[in-house]
Subunit: 302 residues, 2 copies
Amino acid sequence: MHSAQNDKPDVIIREVALRDGLQSEPGFVATSDKLRLIHALAAAGVVLLETTSFVSPRAIPQLRDARELMDRVPRGWLCHEVMVPNLRGAREAADAGADRLIVFVSASETHNRKNVGCSIEQSMADLGAISGLAAAGNMAVAAAIATAFGCPYEGQVDRSAVLAIARRFVQAGADRITLADTTGMANPKQITQTVAFFKDHLPHTQICLHLHNNRGIAAANLYAGYLAGVRMFDTSLGGIGGCPNVPRAAGNLATEDVANMFEALGVRTGMDIDELIRAAGLLESILGRTLPGQVMKSGASA
Amino acid sequence: MHSAQNDKPDVIIREVALRDGLQSEPGFVATSDKLRLIHALAAAGVVLLETTSFVSPRAIPQLRDARELMDRVPRGWLCHEVMVPNLRGAREAADAGADRLIVFVSASETHNRKNVGCSIEQSMADLGAISGLAAAGNMAVAAAIATAFGCPYEGQVDRSAVLAIARRFVQAGADRITLADTTGMANPKQITQTVAFFKDHLPHTQICLHLHNNRGIAAANLYAGYLAGVRMFDTSLGGIGGCPNVPRAAGNLATEDVANMFEALGVRTGMDIDELIRAAGLLESILGRTLPGQVMKSGASA
């Protein structure tokens, strides 16, 4: 009991390169290469993967192999979380053996329409049915709220509106809320205050932060989130990712950079930095360009 | 009195692109282009510039125009700080009308030898004479300590050794100590503890942080420094800079990214973000490549 507790990481780093990262790439990455990446990530100690998304292959052709990929992924202790935009996607994800369904919506009406082509209410309409499907299949459901710290179209986003959406997700059975800074508009003070606000109003719901680096301070935002008590963060191998609608947008924080920082802080991640660097190198060779991650260039901290 | 106090920035962002940035570029940037950059920075509200370094033109040919540049820089409220490796450099800087001399040394013996070709003691040998020269010329002296958070050759650097060097600088009249994370080895906890340690032992000396991004978390380190009470930070327009000895090294935090973060936090920098973005665009056109700064791509925060 005691040693098991000691093995538990202090923070959970959730890998989103396969979904958020690869969907922002111009080309389709072969399913076999995605599988090589997943194996490399698993070897580095990653346990929580945003593996793919059951969206329309016309909308996001990069993820058109969602079913084939899910049929071939290693299972074991890997947890395959799969994004589902609607009930149809949820059914497909359930059929494909997803471990957890991720429902999502934007906090901003305009961004939601640009992102998935419908209103926030329409995005939420399938929630009850998805929740029932998950319960019947013994699957967990988590939720992600995009543009939670600001919208590139609407500007400031009201924290109470984000909470109202989160409450509906929680009432429908979501065991975790991801607050996403989709286009890098957050600042550390806002993170601190928003996390405190959510801890006050939804004290029993796990908060995950998903922070893009469009304004160069995602690492500061992540650290502020950690200081505020957040213990789960989305990151992306090599720092890939972005937003198809935002030119020259920055990606996520690199998994290996964040894991390296936490390990240097004495905060255990359960990850092997050198293996992560190896996985990032594999990703770099698959994509054929230099990736933004820094630790893959400079090496792990001493 | 009251309004003057209100105009005072809450943090000082010290611009190092002209020196730290340009000395890492493969080619020589024309003096006229450096002057255009300085004018653009001044228009954006920059007041503290690391303008150049009076080092050997053989060692750093990128700064071989130090004297010509100093002869042509705008003065007014701009403060031109100039790095000097030794007494000869200090004499030249004084002759050229530097507003402040910056003496420097590495906390690590090996790095100092690689950087300036002599021991720490040899680097410190001219300190008294430089200090006398500065006093005679009514110039301020500040000091920078490289590899203060770790050395790529020696690994961990003892905080007490850094303090011992800092004390010698302060005793010689330095009014400020810059702690430089030359190759991005620091972590936020180390920053917090080191700043507290320096505030304890040198309570009357201003601390400046100079943070490279080699491991992707310079923004987190800067924010930790701010929380610990640091109110001066070195940054580099467009995020240029690096280390000639470190392949694929990362630069400094981008001036416009840091200023944008502070302004979003309600911490006044005295800078105009849009003018900084314009200056970064000018730098990008001069260097002819995409720079790492993010706000220049995404725009200022709302």
